[in-house]
Symmetry: D2
Subunit: 308 residues, 4 copies
């Protein structure tokens, strides 16, 4: 936790029983970290194998959303896209239908800010305390518990959720009211995609000039051009190793959120929008399952430099 | 110095007498750091006040290039643009006309890679050992001696120049033959301009959505969106404080080098080129003397959000 | 009609009674042209003044969609956006609820292709013959009856609708099945916006160089750079006269359709997308009510050339 | 000739003897049209075969620039690029060294406006009357004598040159002083490249949606999206027929002029610059010898739709 925050009021008890819905690449290690931190965690996933695997790591297994939510102080959801969040929260057999009034409902998926706001309003009407809390840091951050978590919702609800969130991330910041977490996540995805594209253009430029890119990256990283993308993705990009830590097709989905949210707010994002076209092109070229840093392939093909 | 390098051959003596031509915002503190490191430094600048100011800080003052260069083991030049470099090196009364064979000539200006190569060839024909060694890190890095220095030239010449360069920078990397230093500097300027533009787009996007950008930057910096630009420039951008540490008009000049060098190499840089247009627009709008991070002003005006 | 088409089967009678819903800037003159061509036209508009004005020009006035649709052989709708089309066609008191099986339902609004397909499917399930038939040519084309009409739907239905459509347009082309008309209209709006932007960039470029743009446009129009945009919009752009014949905010809406449809099809449109950002910026700057050719203002401000 | 122009003063005799230097794809038919119009034309080309071919069509053959220029009232040059123009005009054995004072020197090459101005100044200092008069219309226009000719230079000199120019083009317009012809040609190339890119994006978009593009082009051409590019290039683009009428690599060269001239004037051209990157990419991909309309290939590959 990096931002100073006031002590929560004494009377708010620490959540102890957590329902965790969505045990995918990100969700599984996050739920396991909650178990390790001493929470009683009941997990649910559409495919029961994952729920079983979670049970093998100290969690409890539920065979329905209702069963997972029953008796929980906090419910966490992390699913692929806006319609999935709407289904799991608002559906006839969803979280809102079964959670007790006062329950913390923390959606950690990456979805549209306006969907997050609508869902939070719907929850509030039922007496639930809904937060949007998307994450940055990828699978490594989920495993290590070092995620950055950007939270939108009421100050008191964020405070109440802090013990849970801090078991999963090292940077937990309330960035504003409902939807604000998703807005910041959108900004995050905008910058990350752009930084990848710029490193890709720089590498292709340097290679075309015959420069040693390993040495170049060392010196670039030491100056104002340094970035987490350059540090973490640069070496693999130089070696054309695109094992996915975050798939291009997911980043494409997220950039759709960025452009929609920018349109809604009346903001022009010329460079981000252009990068979004290239991420979409990468997917259209059949590389949606590569790491998003495979934008490098697109840049080098554009200049006729691809291996054929 | 971050890159491991072989020990220089024993017989090469450490340069002791250095001529330093160009005592501007960057050159002056760099020359002073050489004095502090124990070199005998003779400075020259077109405007004699600067030469005098250098003399007041322990340097020797020369009233001509010829006088500065006479007897020097190494000559450093750092002047604004390609034509200035050509004038000071190749001119009738320039460095090449007066330097003794075997002298190290280290040009630390930011210029076109092809000009750097041409100048090095010309120097080699006269028995001089010419390096291109542009820097990154700005005025603070020049003062603190923590510049990143990207060097192009023969391995032995770079080794010979290391003691001099390491008195001015903390990262000194030979990135290839003549011109390679300038190529890497071009890549540096490409990435930096792009990163500024992306942070600007993200900030305007967040402000339009009413998000607290200070908290947002905290959490963005902790994830994959983190960058030196976000850390160093973000706070001032949020406050619209554009006191120049590097002027937009200079970055515009440098992006001209990037696009020319990309064209020469047959490389397409769609995003970098678009950013270059915006940096040019910022200058055209009369803001060339602001810090390059003032790209933020352009982005917010584009979306009709500028203070009128 | 420019495309050769087979003679319609003899047994299909020419529609004679037409319901016309949406008597706006475009709809009114289109409906009047139907009256002039001898059709019995019953008009309906949400604001009754427009319905009355239509009655004064030879049409019949209806005070509800139901009343307009009753007994009609063909129903034409032309309303602002996708939700309006859904409301007027699918609503409880809408066209589909009241039209007799076999009725031709011709939507001439500009909407999303997927909405057009969905609506056509819904209509088919009720025995209606739905076409999407958006138009190009603006208010002048609507008045003169020289619109270009791009039609999607079944061949036989398009043939049956031809007499009606040819009373409003001089180019009536079936471009494919349901939704294809809207897809072609999207392509039309893509090209038009782009051509305006290019003429704007060219004019600002020429003005900055002090060239007489009137003479320049004459010679540009005579070569490969010639376009309908240059001919029709160029003179007003040169004079900064932006009385709307098509408002920027409507073009912004249409470019949202383009980018959504491109995303759906997995197509990258880098230049169109960038132009769409600028059209959005024009609206965000408060100029959504100017003609779309006011992109010129944005281009000149970008280069600091705007009158302040 | 489309623009009204005052009658030339009576005392200026019509040029009768013309030297024509540069008998390439464009130059040869232009020179032949001068012969047909009754001028005495002496041709020169570096490769003597072309000069001989010209002689076979009624021209006189010269074996040097000096021989061609001797006794000419007007000298026309049309060569590939700026350095070629400088060589043929300013070289030791060039046009300026041999032309008599008062001679009209009409350069019809496409070069940088600043080079055109410099050359004109140099010519004026020797008493020559230099015009820049680049053309649009391609090989067909050169053969048919229907070129658009955009002329920069003094009004009286343009008047004197009119009889010569009107033998080659149907639109001859003085657009301003020296260099203005080249500036307008640059604007022409900006618009043409952009229009090609937009038609390419529209076609790929339509194909991806399964629309019949022949019918679509018919209806697009009838509305505001119509353009000379769509009419002349559209059919071949649909059929992927890229026999060059104007090679992509030449257009790439011309777009380099556009971006340099925009930079010189402090004008931002975001869309034109992006298109220029794609034209450069097309060349880098090895397609520089295809027609410039092959931008379509690049657009479809970007979206993964290329035939492999």
């Amino acid at each position: 936790m990096t931002a100073a925050t006031p002590t929560p009021p004494a009377e708010e008890p620490r959540p102890s029983r957590v329902a965790f819905i969505g045990l995918g690449t990100m969700g599984m290690p996050m739920a396991v970290n909650l178990v390790k931190a001493g929470f009683q965690v009941t997990g649910y996933n559409r495919s029961p194998q994952k729920t079983e695997r979670f049970a093998a790591q100290g969690g409890a297994a539920a065979d329905s959303v209702a069963a997972a939510v029953r008796g929980a102080d906090a419910v966490i959801t992390i699913v692929p896209d806006s319609p999935d969040v709407e289904a799991v929260l608002l559906g006839a057999d969803g979280v809102f239908a079964h959670a007790a009034p006062g329950t913390l409902v923390i959606d950690m998926s990456t979805i549209r800010p306006d969907t997050a706001r609508a869902v939070a309003d719907e929850g509030a009407a039922r007496g639930l305390r809904v937060l949007d809390a998307p994450v940055s840091g990828g699978e490594p951050g989920a495993i290590e518990g070092t995620l950055s978590i950007m939270v939108g919702g009421a100050e008191a609800d964020v405070q109440a959720a802090r013990p849970v969130l801090e078991a999963m991330g090292s940077t937990v910041v309330r960035v504003g009211p409902s939807g604000a977490g998703q807005t910041v996540k959108a900004a995050n995805q905008l910058i990350v995609a752009g930084n990848i594209q710029l490193v890709a253009e720089a590498l292709v430029f340097l290679e075309a000039h015959g420069v040693d890119t390993e040495r170049a990256c060392t010196v670039l990283g030491g100056g104002l051009a340094g970035s987490t993308v350059l540090n973490r993705k640069g070496p693999a990009m130089r070696e054309r190793s695109f094992q996915p830590s975050f798939r291009a097709e997911l980043h494409h989905k997220d950039l759709g959120i960025v452009t929609a949210a920018a349109r809604e707010a009346g903001v022009a994002l010329p460079v981000a929008t252009l990068v979004a076209q290239f991420m979409g092109a990468l997917k259209a070229q059949g590389h949606g399952d590569l790491d998003h840093s495979a934008l490098l392939l697109l840049v080098e093909r554009l200049s006729g430099r691809a291996p054929r």
